[in-house]
């Protein structure tokens, strides 16, 4: 504690001088003495990295997490505003620049993902709000000559004997005082904003075309770059005749870069048109010979012949299976998927006088800074990274190849560069949700108790692939050789020694049995992988819930009752299933419609979904989804509902359509005509039931997704008698 205080005092002094005597600031962590990336406005007061308060009572909140649609600007401003007593709608909310004070407390780096933001910042930002409020109260007590105990606060004002004084009036005095470090937090009963379903703070900007996304950045002398890349991941440029593009109108440069060849022009359409004229020739790599059928054959062989690595080994599965009255065993398949956020990847990079700026909507702005530094040779402290709104992310915007490309082009062309991917680039040159072959063998007794659960997954590992993407960004000082060594080490470790938990999460945890094994066989074909909304859960839930339905049938039990019986060790999930059962029992589906049920815990949140489905011919139609969720305190219940609605749609796109086919190492699909996204006319009604369990909040961005595919598959079984074990779901 004393170390923190010392660095804080020192920081107060330093920035106090820089800011004309009115500014104080301190490092939340005590680890960083670097200057906060905050622009002072109107002699603003900066009590910490998250706030700036101006004398005219402007309240600026520097949001440490990235807004990709999940509502984090609203959620986090609600946390700090609750304790500061300022409504989020009365704050100006800005995206934070790079500083360790903005690290995600769950990750230790400045990254957004894993449905972590509300959970990770819940106490931290409330404490910052409370401490700042305490400081303002102390300043007001001094200025007004009253006891702090006679002061209350409301809506950005100090209140004394019914009279209101704006916070801004006290910032000069506050700047001379020391903030409390452990000001008391409100009890849940005292919340005024947490738990209220007020409108999103970004809704107006996003409804008027004024929200600024990375693609919208426009700076003086900016040139536009379009890159031609190999259709096969990892294949390098062998040769290209640049002259055909160089002679096109507006084109200024044609440059070979690490990922291919870039065309630079004054305007995007000129660059795009000229790039299309190029006929680059690419090297052949091992992947160049692989079709989907080869890949699947490798997966099948691994499933049959390879023991793999043990992730979990509890109890005695052999004895459990022997004790069962019935055994079920089945394989489940999930394909590679692209994220396809609607805003294609893009970045703007400007390099001038030994300094750089980068603008890009990312899930980790520190990574953008690191990559620009690494690929320009400019030290990180001279690279200013600016975040923007993200036009969707879903895991995709943690891998920033486009920032590398924009940097390489900016360096080589000596121009500020706006680099934009096409939709075809996005689907064919991306980083993917790994394909998975899963097998579960499980035993059940006639009384419905599960006796053994033996699971195995074959596929690629996300963590080493992500390290490959992130390490060059997070450690710009490490040379390529060191990074290659560490990535290789992690790949070997996950292939031969231990299991990458992201590969198997959700495959075995939810249901009661003493006897469980989980094995993993790593099979990779050099296809770039990364996190995709709900990560491993996006495919494991399909296998886990499918087998559970089959076990229930063998035991002669209703599938929901069967899950209730087998979640005694998992009380919150059990309660979610119980509430869902009540809703389901009250439903009376129309003739020709069938109900399917699934439940799943992911990212510490429990969700059950009931899908009302009809099957006509080979068409699966989902009419309505009822979603029951327990995510602890719903900080903004309307955003919880929105995330469940959105995750259902995202999951349905994967359940009904999502598929990428590999032909000679290249993905065949290219745009929304052959990689379709659910349309409004296909979208079900979604009813969301939030169980307020009153505990600290857990994530909502991802957990709505895992139950939907198995819920629909379960309804399809009711409708047709077909157990569909392969995604996307196709009626035989």
């Amino acid at each position: 504690m004393s170390a923190i205080n010392m660095s804080r005092r020192q920081f107060l002094k330093t920035t106090g001088i820089l800011g004309g005597g009115l500014v104080i600031g301190f490092s939340m962590t005590g680890c960083s003495s670097s200057e906060l990336p905050i622009t002072l406005v109107q002699q603003g007061f900066v009590p910490n990295a998250f706030l700036q308060i101006t004398p005219d009572n402007g309240i600026r909140f520097y949001c440490p997490r990235d807004e990709m649609g999940q509502g984090v600007t609203t959620g986090l401003s609600t946390l700090i505003g609750e304790e500061l007593d300022v409504h989020p709608k009365d704050m100006e909310i800005l995206f934070a620049g790079v500083h360790s004070d903005y690290n995600n407390p769950d990750f230790g780096v400045q990254g957004t993902g894993g449905s972590s933001s509300l959970k990770a910042h819940y106490l931290q930002l409330r404490q910052v709000g409370a401490n700042t409020r305490g400081l303002l109260v102390a300043a007001a007590a001094q200025d007004l000559g009253v006891a702090a105990s006679a002061i209350s606060t409301r809506d950005g004002h100090i209140v004394v004997a019914g009279k209101q004084y704006p916070y801004g009036q006290f910032v000069q005095t506050a700047a001379s005082l020391e903030a409390p470090t452990e000001a008391p937090l409100k009890s849940n009963a005292e919340f005024r904003y947490i738990g209220q379903a007020f409108a999103r703070v970004d809704a107006a900007a996003k409804s008027t075309g004024t929200a600024e996304f990375g693609i919208d950045i426009d700076i003086p002398n900016m040139h536009h770059a379009v890159v031609r890349r190999s259709p096969v991941a990892g294949a390098k440029l062998k040769s290209v005749d640049k002259s055909v593009a160089l002679n096109m109108p507006g084109v200024t440069d044609v440059i070979e870069i690490s990922s291919g060849v870039a065309v630079v022009a004054e305007k995007y359409w000129q660059a795009k048109t000229a790039a299309a004229k190029l006929s680059p020739v690419w090297d052949e790599v091992a992947l160049s010979k692989v079709d989907s059928s080869d890949l699947r054959a490798d997966y099948n062989q691994a499933m049959q012949q390879d023991e793999g690595v043990v992730d979990t080994d509890e109890g005695d599965v052999k004895a459990g299976l022997a004790a069962a009255d019935h055994i079920v065993e089945a394989e489940y398949w999930a394909p590679f998927l692209a994220h396809a956020p609607l805003e294609p990847m893009n970045a703007v990079v400007r390099i001038e006088n030994g300094e750089a700026d980068v603008w890009s909507g990312t899930q980790g702005i520190v990574a953008a800074q690191g990559l620009v530094s690494r690929f320009s040779g400019i030290p990180v402290e001279k690279v200013r990274a600016h975040n923007t709104y993200l036009g969707g992310a879903f895991g995709r915007r943690g891998t920033l190849t486009h920032v590398i490309e924009a940097t390489e082009v900016a360096v080589a062309s000596n121009k500020p560069i706006h680099l934009l991917w096409s939709r075809e680039d996005d689907i064919q040159n991306g980083v993917y949700r790994p394909a998975s072959l899963m097998k579960i063998k499980a035993g059940v007794k006639n009384d419905g108790s599960i006796t053994a659960w033996q699971a195995k997954r074959v596929g690629g590992n996300i963590t080493p692939k992500t390290l490959q993407n992130m390490m060059p960004a997070l450690f710009p000082g490490l040379n390529d050789g060191t990074i290659d060594f560490m990535v290789g080490l992690s790949r070997d470790v996950f292939a031969g020694w231990m299991v990458d938990h992201a590969s198997v999460e959700g495959l075995y945890e939810d249901y009661d049995t003493d006897n469980k094994t989980v094995n993993h066989v790593t099979v990779e074909h050099d296809i770039p992988l990364t996190f995709w909304r709900s990560v491993g859960h996006s495919y494991t839930s399909f296998a886990k819930e499918g087998i559970t339905d089959e076990l229930a049938e063998k035991a002669g039990m209703d599938p929901v009752a069967f899950r209730l019986k087998n979640t005694q060790g998992n009380p919150r999930l059990n309660n979610v299933i119980r509430v869902a059962q009540q809703h389901m029992l009250a439903m009376q589906p129309a003739e020709g419609r069938f109900l399917g049920f699934a439940a799943h815990n992911s990212f510490a949140t429990d969700v059950a979904e009931i899908a009302e489905v009809s099957v006509i011919g080979k068409t699966i139609r989902v009419h309505k989804v009822t979603c029951i969720v327990d995510c602890g305190i719903a900080v903004n219940p309307d955003i919880v509902r929105a995330q469940m609605e959105g995750a259902v749609m995202f999951g349905l796109t994967a359940a009904l359509y999502g598929d990428l086919e590999l032909v000679q190492g290249a993905f065949k699909q290219s745009n929304f005509h052959d990689y379709p996204i659910l349309k409004m006319s296909e979208a079900p009604l979604v009813e969301v039931v939030i169980i307020d369990s009153g505990t600290a909040p857990t994530g909502v961005g991802e957990p709505g997704l895992p139950p939907i595919a198995p819920a629909v598959a379960s309804a399809v079984y009711q409708a047709t008698g077909q157990r569909l074990r392969s995604l996307p779901l196709k009626i035989a």
Partner: protein
């Protein structure tokens, strides 16, 4: 040189006549509210009104809009003076990432102009070319239908006054 009317003002450009309207509006006239999503007329993020018709502009050459009225999201309403659909969009917290919403709102505004009392099926038909990857469809549809009802009620009240 091609001349057209952009949000009520006559503008001219010497961009190549084959350049899609979207890029002329974004790069030449610096209006960034209309978005690029697919470049193939498949997602609707680039939707603008051409003489009151909602059209995909990522493939529409500017030669085709010479002399015509082009309205973008910036011309529909502003933060201080929103179109009723925009106000309703905010009240219902429709957007998530928000990237598709300019196109959604332009498509919806055109629908209500031509069909002030749409059925759910009409909304589905008019809006199904607009992809929302975040899956805000339930709210988009509900908001369009509720704005239509408000408009009808308002018009009925005006008629009664008259």
């Amino acid at each position: 040189m091609i001349e057209f009317i952009l949000n009520g003002k006559t503008v001219s450009t010497d961009d190549d006549p084959s350049t899609p309207l979207l890029w002329v509006v974004r790069d030449t006239f610096k209006l960034k509210g209309s978005k690029f999503g697919c470049g193939a007329g498949l997602c609707g993020a680039c939707t603008m009104h051409i003489d009151d018709e909602a059209m995909r502009t990522c493939m529409l050459p500017i030669s085709a809009v010479a002399g015509r009225q082009v309205t973008t999201i910036e011309g529909l309403g502003t933060l201080d003076d929103m179109h009723p659909l925009q106000t309703a969009w905010v009240d219902a917290s429709v957007p998530q990432c928000g990237y598709c919403q300019s196109g959604q709102i332009m498509a919806a505004a055109s629908l209500l102009k031509h069909n002030p009392n749409p059925t759910e099926a009409d909304v589905d038909a008019a809006m199904s070319g607009n992809i929302c990857r975040c899956g805000c469809y339930v709210r988009i549809k509900g908001t369009i239908l509720s704005v239509a009802q408000q408009n009808l009620a308002y018009n009925a009240a005006q008629e009664q006054k008259a």
